[in-house]
Symmetry: C2
Amino acid sequence: MTEGDDRTWTISEISSEFGVTPRTLRYYEELGLLSPDRSRDNGQRLYSRRDRARLKLVLRGRRFGFSLKDLKELLDLYDTDPTRKEQIRRTLEIGAKRIEEIDEMIRELQVHRQELLDYRDRLVRFLEGKATAEELDLPLDDTE
Amino acid sequence: MTEGDDRTWTISEISSEFGVTPRTLRYYEELGLLSPDRSRDNGQRLYSRRDRARLKLVLRGRRFGFSLKDLKELLDLYDTDPTRKEQIRRTLEIGAKRIEEIDEMIRELQVHRQELLDYRDRLVRFLEGKATAEELDLPLDDTE
DNA sequence: GTTGACCTTTACGTAAACGTAAGGTAGCAT
DNA sequence: ATGCTACCTTACGTTTACGTAAAGGTCAAC
């Protein structure tokens, strides 16, 4: 059924592939974000496909300003015990909240993007002599 | 021309309105992100409409994981000397890069959102007895 | 058998973004 | 003139997310 999915990677392979240091990977493990196999005699970490998927999620989340604690919570959602239907419902709730947060971030980013575009237009019009210097200030504060 | 725009706010007014502590506002000033009027005898800070606009930009940027240093750079874009056309061109360049970054973030957020939705669907199908527990793992690692 | 590459743990150091007193001033109310 | 409130500066403390040695184990290669 699941064949060939047992491939593993060493810490240096993972670290160079994902552009993070080994220290970072060990730190994430310390926080419970990753759990590479440690059952080898020599104590080496071996990362599975699952670890890679989790790491990807963490690195992406980090770029959005989520804390590692936030991301730990998120990863725990995926660790829901499938036999506990009540827990699954809880997971669904939290996931829904998460999606709302993401939607809000997307909206805010679009606002921010638009402001930058507007400012760019003002600069261009100024260069063309079609606008005065006074129009080159920050987007005005509209709350109130 | 610009009338009634000279209204000012105290530090506690600003801090409670924007949900940050006075310490944060003083810290931002120390970093050059804000520059409230300090010309009063008693040394009090008085925040203008311009300071509010800059603060808003900072607080929003912070939610996207931008560092205060990043945001300082961004704010400096708006402080371009309008008489230096060469500097304006430079500003336009940096602004364009910024917009690309934002577009990339939006794309990534949408991917992230979609993954959460997919996972939600799997959970729901499981609750309905239409999926097995094995399907409830993380979205599979597809790089390779 | 020793060199070198790669791994390990332990532990102290650090930059960013504030938090948190401590101690003093300005202005108004009683 | 005394208290209260809001402001100020200075300065040390704290959390997060790692960086950076230091000291040592393992294993293939020469």
